[in-house]
């Protein structure tokens, strides 16, 4: 599949787009293009910290209607111009990088709440509304989506869906794919696809799911309908200290076996436990903290709390009270602000977010740690999304190298070794962060030859000229795992 042509008459296209969208909604200014050459992918940020300019789009547009998007896409399709949809630009895998130039379609001006259906408990929104903006709107009316990833400030609804994100309270409220009941998508040829917003359907495969996680390669999401939940009547916190990871994990399984769904179940490994308890008490070697948040009606919270406490104490835990869990909730964004610790010269960092069934989860954790720590970097991990059948691992690594070149080599080696270990252990290579450029080469490995060929065939059918977000999800003929430094300057 060849990438769309990068050589197009930018001025002519710009003039046309200005007629359709208005001058203020089209830009080819250098400083704007550089600002749109980054998301929150740590590798891109490490490079940007060295002021490396790469992956710039040729144009950026801010459409305000679906019809405008259709026009833009049709034009791009006719002229084989790459299109890169952007919502919050808070993705962490390089999903919006214009490695082959083209037009960035930033949907953030499409930020309206279209319909709050209080009878059906759904809300219909445009894709450019930030997670925070939607939550603020709903909270004022007594609701929440329950979709609260740590990127509610950084990301917008279109991106949540396109990158198949999961909020920190996913155990109770579900992940984005569980919440979306209907989608509208502008296909790469400009046609409009609307799926019915219904609770469920058995009229063949669920088309909307094809687009949830398609990261802009199958089309541009222009409208979403999501389930909402009432704002919780009661929220309570609890923390337990287990002697080791295994006993903590067992307690989690017991909680699900009792048919309970606390909003948050978050188990820290020994390294992160030391960090989490630094302001509380020093833990014994190997000890692991398990945090819970209960959010429901008062009665239900009482029941949940009683049962969970019993399970944990019987599982050998010490009850730490609400402190560590509450502290995490109130300060959960702190880690995401830039600091000299990870952005300093020679520093390298990132997060591997993988998932598996319980049968493989602990094994996967130990094998990934071994594989990653072999490179002389430190790790700390938590299991932050649990389900009745398994959960994720969020492995944070932080290290140092002597030169920028070494930073990049080591970074890539760590990712390769970590994902290889996860794959061997039977896990999926991303639970929530998506593929982008970072994990593009792993798509055939994740899905198998047959599976990936099917995804590619769908791409070929939907997007014969490969204009939509070329190179992402492994679609395209790019062979390098990472864009070469300075690509598309």
């Amino acid at each position: 599949m060849s990438a769309a042509s990068t050589a197009f008459n930018v001025n002519r296209v710009k003039r046309q787009l200005e007629v359709w969208l208005g001058k203020e909604n089209v830009s080819d200014a250098e400083v704007d293009k550089i600002n749109y050459s980054r998301d929150a992918w740590p590798l891109r940020l490490l490079r940007l910290g060295r002021l490396i300019i790469e992956a710039k789009p040729d144009l950026i547009v801010w459409p305000q209607t679906v019809e405008q998007i259709q026009r833009i896409v049709k034009l791009a399709n006719q002229e084989s111009i790459p299109i890169i949809p952007v919502s919050g630009a808070g993705g962490v895998a390089g999903g919006i990088l214009a490695t082959t130039g083209g037009i960035i379609v930033d949907v953030k001006k499409m930020n309206r709440v279209l319909f709050l259906d209080e009878e059906s408990f759904t809300v219909t929104v445009e894709p450019g509304i930030l997670g925070y903006e939607l939550e603020e709107y709903l909270e004022a009316r007594g609701y929440t989506t329950g979709h609260l990833p740590s990127s509610i400030y950084s990301s917008a609804l279109g991106g949540f869906a396109a990158a198949r994100s999961a909020g920190v309270l996913s155990s109770k409220y579900g992940k984005i794919e569980d919440m979306i009941t209907g989608l509208e998508v502008v296909l790469p040829t400009g046609e409009l696809l609307r799926t019915k917003a219904v609770p469920r359907s058995s009229m063949g495969p669920d088309l909307k799911q094809l687009f949830i996680g398609s990261e802009g390669t199958y089309g541009i999401i222009t409208e979403l309908t999501l389930r909402i939940a009432p704002s919780p009547e009661e929220t309570q916190f609890a923390s337990f200290l287990f002697p080791d990871l295994h006993s903590g994990m067992n307690a989690v399984k017991q909680v699900f076996r009792q048919d309970l769904k606390p909003a948050l179940i978050r188990l820290y490994d020994e390294n992160e436990t030391r960090f989490v308890l630094s302001r509380f008490k020093p833990p014994s070697d190997g000890a692991c903290v398990l945090n819970f948040i209960y959010r429901a009606t008062k009665d239900f919270v009482r029941l949940e709390k009683r049962t969970v406490t019993k399970i944990c104490l019987e599982g050998g835990a010490e009850d730490l009270g609400p402190g560590p869990s509450k502290h995490w909730w109130n300060n959960r964004f702190d880690l995401y602000y830039p600091s000299s610790m990870n952005m300093g010269p020679g520093m390298l960092y990132d997060v591997l977010d993988v998932a598996s069934s319980y049968a493989n989860l602990e094994k996967m954790y130990w094998e990934m740690r071994k594989a990653i720590e072999a490179f002389g970097v430190g790790t700390m991990s938590h299991f932050s999304h649990f389900y009745p059948d398994g959960g994720n691992i969020y492995v944070i690594f932080v290290g140092h190298a002597n030169s920028p070149e070494e930073v990049e080599t080591k970074y890539q080696q760590i990712w390769d070794a970590g994902l290889e270990a996860a794959h061997r252990a039977g896990g999926t290579l991303s639970h929530q962060h998506g593929v982008g450029l970072l994990k593009a080469p792993w798509m055939p490995i994740e899905h198998g030859e047959t599976g990936f060929a099917l995804l590619q065939a769908i791409k070929q059918y939907l997007d014969p000229n490969n204009i939509m977000n070329p190179g992402k999800l492994g679609f395209g003929n790019e062979t390098s795992k990472f864009p070469k430094e300075g690509a598309s300057q």
Partner: protein, 401 residues
């Protein structure tokens, strides 16, 4: 005028290099609070966007092109980003410093050049004759002593656009029996320089600051009161930063700071709850936190405490209040550089006022009043009554016996 390429200025921008670098790499944790971003929805027109432009400039990767200058000036300098920043980065200060570079490179936007011209020729931002600074305050000037220990620094906007705030202030102080003087006549108050500091014209601002310090010294006043948070910030914080100092014994206070200490004397003077002429019913009020007064000077509660002295007053809050309050749209010279953008921000704040019908929108800043009033008159979307806190107090205070 500012000398071109003053190296001292570029050093100052470099002093903040660590912060601008980190902000340029941020995952946009404060973007949702940036009023200009929320209108443009462009990631270049955002705290991170501006920090990256500054970093590119500092690193020699981008000149101060027209678009770069536009983005740096498409900022209200409202400081909302600081409230959302866990490490509390002073990004607005860095943007101010970058504007100094823009000015030094002779690339300042036309609207700001007008500010500079007006203040250097007429000593006020509006380009009105300097000798008419107190023209609209003649009736209250009559009874002023010229030797009082307290001086009221009026500021350009109150003097030339909203003199009713000065009249109201006069009434309030008079009812409290407080003797004060203006810095008029030979004492010669001029623009405080805040608009120039915000727009990057630092040398011009210094010259105004020096004139004001001289005027204050000559007046012999020990306390300077002002109803303008921009003036208060300039006198309290900016002048010392510019190396220009008032005598140590001189205190500068925004009127709400001063009055809240007089609460005991004020309370018994309040005659009745506010009433509308039309309905006779008690009115609701929403207090808008001015950016300079709130986030810069940390004054959130005194204005509320003063309004709550009014029996039966129903004080409402914006959904975003205190540290998280949204800008009125008038900050950072935006109305001079991007008036349509500024107006859109003002409209949004007006529309967010709770209980919008027939209630008061109260601020403690003449610039907020100016922008709210002008925009409301244009769009006519609400029937809010926009008043300064001094006007509210003046209405409810009875004569002292």
């Amino acid at each position: 005028m500012t000398p071109p390429n003053s190296t001292a200025l570029s050093n100052t921008l470099d002093d903040f290099a660590k912060i601008s670098r980190l902000c340029s790499l941020c995952s946009r944790m404060c973007r949702h609070s940036c009023p200009t971003h929320l209108v443009t929805r462009s990631d270049a027109c955002s705290p991170v966007g501006r920090a990256l432009i500054i970093e590119l400039y500092r690193g020699g990767k981008s000149a101060l092109t027209e678009a770069a200058v536009d983005r740096l000036y498409q900022c209200n300098l409202c400081g909302a980003c600081k409230a959302w920043c866990m490490p509390r980065h002073e990004l607005p200060r860095i943007i101010e410093l970058s504007r100094e570079r823009v000015v030094a490179e002779h690339r300042a936007p036309a609207g700001t050049l007008e500010l500079d011209k007006n203040t250097s020729e007429f000593f006020n931002v509006y380009g009105e004759p300097h000798d008419e600074r107190f023209a609209q305050l003649q009736s209250i000037l009559k009874n002023q002593t010229s030797t009082a220990e307290i001086a009221y620094f009026v500021g350009c906007t109150t003097a030339y656009r909203h003199p009713e705030i000065a009249s109201a202030t006069h009434t309030v102080l008079a009812r409290l029996g407080i003797d004060f003087t203006f810095l008029n006549g030979e004492k010669n108050e001029v623009c405080c320089g805040s608009p120039l500091i915000r727009a990057g014209f630092i040398e011009s601002a210094k010259s105004l600051a020096e004139q004001n310090v001289k005027a204050i010294k000559e007046s012999g006043a020990k306390t300077i009161l002002t109803t303008c948070p921009g003036c208060a910030r300039a006198l309290k914080l900016d002048y010392p930063q510019l190396g220009i100092h008032l005598p140590k014994k001189v205190k500068v206070l925004h009127m709400v700071e001063f009055l809240v200490k007089q609460s005991e004397q004020l309370a018994p003077l309040i005659k009745s709850p506010l009433q509308t002429k039309q309905t006779g019913s008690i009115l609701t009020m929403t207090y808008h936190d001015p950016c300079h007064l709130g986030r810069e000077l940390g004054i959130y509660e005194p204005p509320r405490q003063l309004l709550k002295l009014i029996p039966g007053a129903d004080l409402m809050e914006f959904p975003h209040n205190r540290e998280y309050a949204d800008c009125c749209g008038g900050g950072g010279a935006l109305p001079k550089t991007f008036p349509a953008l500024a107006e859109e921000i003002t409209r949004t704040r007006l529309a967010d006022t709770p209980s919008a019908s027939n209630s008061y929108l109260v601020s403690a800043c003449p610039n907020c009043k100016l922008h709210f009033t002008e925009t409301q008159n244009q769009v006519k979307e609400t029937d809010l009554k926009i008043l300064d806190l001094m006007e509210i107090l003046a209405q409810v205070l009875k004569e002292r016996r």
